[in-house]
Point group: C2
Chain length 150, copies 2
DNA sequence: TTGCAGATGCAATTGAGTCGCAAATCAATT
DNA sequence: AATTGATTTGCGACTCAATTGCATCTGCAA
């Protein structure tokens, strides 16, 4: 069954505390919200989801989301509608961010519009680039129908 | 050496005439401009580039670009800055759009910001998706340093 | 408890992209 | 060559995600 917001609070606090940065209510609430999502959520989705338990300013949502990205806790995905969507970066068992996650795939459903992470697809992409080009980051994006809509 | 705008006009006219749609000045100018670019250009880049030889309205640029995409002559790429960039779709020797081009890779340089097409990388991507998911379109995006900036 | 760097809220701004509508243009037909 | 009618273009106004500036508040350490 789906995890609820409230049950994620302690884990969210621990995760933020582990960064050594300031532990603030908006950060906890935002991270707990991300933890309950099984797909990438937009800034607006986040505002709506937070409205129930911990309403906060739109701009704060932007800034907290950006902070989570710079901390490596979340990553952002460019949607076809020019809207950023955010998702937790997969963590390794020890709690550290997964470096391999930098190179991974996303699947966006043409019907429902949801975006999912496909971690299992990614790490072994053999990508050849022309001479002189240096690859730092790889992003694989699929479009189609998700299991629910097909 | 780089192709110039003027030398591309005849080819652009021929290409548009081949679609069976109306041959208009903005379409010719836009296509000729795209033909001189070796990397993906934004809507604003296009407006600036056209200003010299064939100034046209911002909105017209958007619409012509969109028309070129629906015709399969160009394709659009979502940039990390939420800006669409456009590029000619590689044509096969017979002049028809290349269907395989639908599944291909882009390389964006972190330093100069230019985006290039890597047609040779793409077609044989073995992508596994979870059960029930149906892939229709694949987009591979690389980030790093291009040959010029490295 | 206090001090203050860093975080948040609010209002205003930016900038890519879109919409509606009147005027202009292309091309088919006379 | 002129007419006609459907498409396109230009212009203004608009939408909406995201950002910026600044005053206020808050977490944390001394």
């Amino acid at each position: 069954m789906k995890p609820t917001y409230l049950t994620r609070i302690p884990a969210a606090e621990a995760h933020i505390r582990a960064t050594g940065e300031r532990l603030t209510q908006p950060r906890v609430a935002m991270l707990a919200t991300l933890m309950t999502a099984d797909h990438a959520i937009s800034h607006l989705d986040a505002v709506d989801a937070l409205a129930k338990h911990h309403p906060m300013d739109r701009v704060t949502v932007y800034r907290v989301l950006e902070w989570l990205v710079t901390m490596g806790i979340a990553h952002r995905i460019a949607g076809d509608d020019r809207v950023w969507r955010f998702m937790l970066t997969a963590a390794k068992p020890n709690g550290k961010a997964n470096a391999q996650h930098l190179q991974h795939a996303h699947f966006t459903c043409n019907d429902c519009g949801q975006t999912f992470c496909l971690d299992e697809v990614s790490p072994k992409l053999p990508v050849k680039v022309p001479a002189g080009f240096k690859t730092i980051d790889v992003d694989l994006k699929l479009r189609g129908q998700c299991a629910h809509c097909a």
